[in-house]
């Protein structure tokens, strides 16, 4: 069906889908000729068009180069809504509310870690609960649970999982205002209760990486990154808690749309006006899930630090183990952006997209204000991940956003077929990567070939001028669910 969608080339890295039919704005796709061929294989461009139908959408329905077919919104989609007349769409955030990535940098080098790498990965695998159906080690009282969803990462730090300085290096200081237990169903509370401090499965991971290339030394230095340094990347979200909140509110919004007579091309885009009661309630429940995810990544990082202490018999000072930053890539944020020369407050939906603010932006931590916001683009487990930094152009072009990952090219079914008869663990080990996974199928489903080459994705955003490469991370240890 994508063959029918007309695209007009703006430049080598940007195409426009002209506004037509019920579209309120045009679509814009950041990509290159080669990736565009892959994008046309599925229904993701149709989804860019569908998002352009949402009430209150501003400027463009935007897609990043890692765009792929999702449900409702494409994965890699960005849409900013006018706060007055616009809508909030739970599907535009995703089921895994505040899924994101954090990067922790250590003082250790590859040379120091390599001799004990297997011990380290084994220890990480045993101390970070992961996999389908695996419960966490933390038992929450009702009082704890309420505080967790009100305070986010701050709650985790008050309980001893991390340091105060970590909060400076998380979007919004790791705590979203307005998380309200009264807007959350019993089902959601139940699904989240024993999942705090767990990684999950699917594409979520904990990875030990080495900084193997530095592209912008000054910025890398400001982020505390140096060549051959060992880092840890953590990718996970709000677990069953967020999944159930999204499920619950899509139904509430379908009723709202019937009541208000809003018609959209796909039910999965279900939405409510930001200022409606339904919209406000979703935003309170959403804030709770955002906080849950921040606390979750904070706790997992604390577990990872403990694994390093025990394997290398060192303390916090020797390890370093400082949080570089924590980025969200399934989120909606109220931000001010310039639209037709005027500064307006908008609600930016980033579904599989990362905020990428440039230097001097007031919403980035003071320590990074002179260089810009760190952005993490995880690749597949066999190749590389990238650290980028936001540029001025992001504000003009993409509501301060850029890509979030490599993006799948193979379905899980095709990946499983291609993995048949192969020992993927041995293949990874041949590349110097020790991988451990709870589920037998996970590594096959997540094999490197299942993803686009992340470097191509990062090159598009760099060439389009919306972010710049700072460093490359090469995996040496991987934990999957």
């Amino acid at each position: 069906m994508n063959e029918e969608i007309k695209l007009e080339k703006i430049h080598d890295y940007l195409w426009e889908i002209p506004q037509k039919g019920g579209m309120r704005v045009p679509g814009r796709v950041y990509t290159n000729e080669k990736m565009l061929r892959d994008i046309r294989q599925d229904k993701s461009l149709e989804q860019v068009v569908n998002v352009a139908h949402l009430p209150g959408i501003q400027k463009y329905s935007i897609a990043m180069p890692d765009i792929h077919w999702g449900y409702g919104f494409p994965i890699g989609g960005i849409a900013a809504m006018n706060v007055e007349e616009g809508v909030i769409s739970p599907g535009g955030v995703g089921y895994d509310i505040n899924c994101g990535v954090r990067l922790m940098a250590t003082n250790l080098t590859e040379e120091e870690v390599r001799p004990k790498l297997r011990d380290l990965v084994t220890e990480l695998f045993s101390c970070v609960p992961c996999g389908v159906g695996v419960s966490g080690k933390i038992k929450l009282s009702n009082k704890d649970y309420k505080e967790l969803i009100e305070k986010g990462a701050k709650w985790a730090i008050e309980r001893g999982w991390g340091d105060r300085e970590d909060l400076e290096r998380i979007e919004d200081h790791g705590s979203f205002r307005g998380g309200d237990v009264d807007t959350i169903s019993k089902k959601a509370l139940e699904r989240g209760k024993d999942a705090i401090g767990t990684l999950g499965s699917g594409n979520h991971f904990l990875e030990v990486d080495v900084v193997d290339q530095i592209y912008k030394p000054g910025v890398a230095d400001a982020f505390g990154l140096f060549k051959d340094q060992v880092c840890v990347q953590i990718h996970c979200g709000s677990r069953g808690f967020g999944h159930q909140i999204c499920t619950d509110y899509i139904d509430i919004m379908l009723s709202y749309m019937r009541k208000e007579g809003i018609n959209l091309p796909d039910k999965q885009l279900a939405c409510a006006h930001i200022k409606s009661e339904e919209g406000r309630d979703y935003l309170s429940a959403f804030a709770a899930a955002v906080n849950y995810a921040w606390a979750n990544r904070q706790i997992i990082m604390a577990f990872a630090r403990d694994a390093f202490y025990s394997v290398f018999r060192i303390g916090p000072r020797e390890l370093g183990g400082h949080l570089v930053y924590d980025v969200s890539h399934n989120i909606a944020k109220f931000e001010e952006h310039k639209i037709n020369g005027k500064t307006k407050k908008v609600c930016v939906h980033r579904k599989g997209a990362t905020r990428a603010f440039p230097k001097n932006h007031p919403l980035i931590p003071e320590i990074y204000r002179e260089v810009g916001q760190p952005v993490f683009i995880p690749g597949d487990m066999g190749r590389a991940s990238f650290v980028l930094v936001g540029t001025e152009a992001t504000l003009d072009e993409t509501f301060g956003s850029c890509c979030h990952g490599a993006g799948r090219v193979l379905s899980r079914k095709k990946a499983l077929k291609s993995g048949k008869g192969r020992n993927l663990f041995a293949e990874l080990e041949g590349k110097g990567i020790i991988a451990m996974a709870r589920g037998k199928r996970t590594v096959a489903e997540e094999m490197p070939e299942a993803y686009k080459e992340v470097e191509d994705v990062c090159d598009v955003v760099q060439n389009a001028g919306i972010a710049e490469k700072v460093a490359r991370l090469r995996p040496i240890g991987v934990i999957k669910g």
Binding site: W69, G70, Y71, V134, R191, D251, D266, R412, G439
Partner: protein, 137 residues
């Protein structure tokens, strides 16, 4: 075969058939449970009653599967079999037969986050009904 797994880049899509709406709901539940684990290894020692409502048939289908998914995720259950009774256009009563998850015995292969409404449309065929369901995993 009353269901098949289709290709979908990021998520999982299943095509489910049923001679009637209640059979479609039952087969959809089987399909979802097969995505989660090997149904053959589940002993149906416990029975759980499920009451589901929905404004449309599509909503009813999503809610029915959502209720089973909740029992799996929150109550840590896996199910071998299902019974479905249509009460009205907007209501079904069902039973799920299964047991508590035992990770030693039940290998769980997919963590289904949710049942989506994406392009969800129950189609009428000559000999019954057909629907494509996208699960977020």
């Amino acid at each position: 075969m009353n269901y098949e797994i289709l290709d979908h880049t990021a998520d999982v899509c299943v095509r489910v058939y049923g001679k009637s709406f209640d059979e479609l709901l039952r087969n959809a539940a089987y399909a979802m449970m097969e995505l989660i684990t090997d149904r053959e290894k589940i002993i149906p020692s416990q029975k759980i009653e499920i009451k589901t409502k929905g404004e449309t048939k599509e909503e009813l289908l999503v809610h029915w599967l959502g209720d089973i998914l909740y029992l799996h995720q929150a109550k840590k259950m896996v199910f071998r079999d299902f019974e479905v009774h249509i009460i009205s256009e907007t209501q079904v009563k069902g039973k799920a037969f299964g047991e508590k998850i035992d990770l030693e015995k039940h290998e769980l292969s997919s963590d289904i986050k949710a049942v989506t409404y994406h392009n969800l449309k129950i189609e009428t065929l000559d000999n019954g009904l057909k629907v494509d369901i996208v699960f977020d995993i």
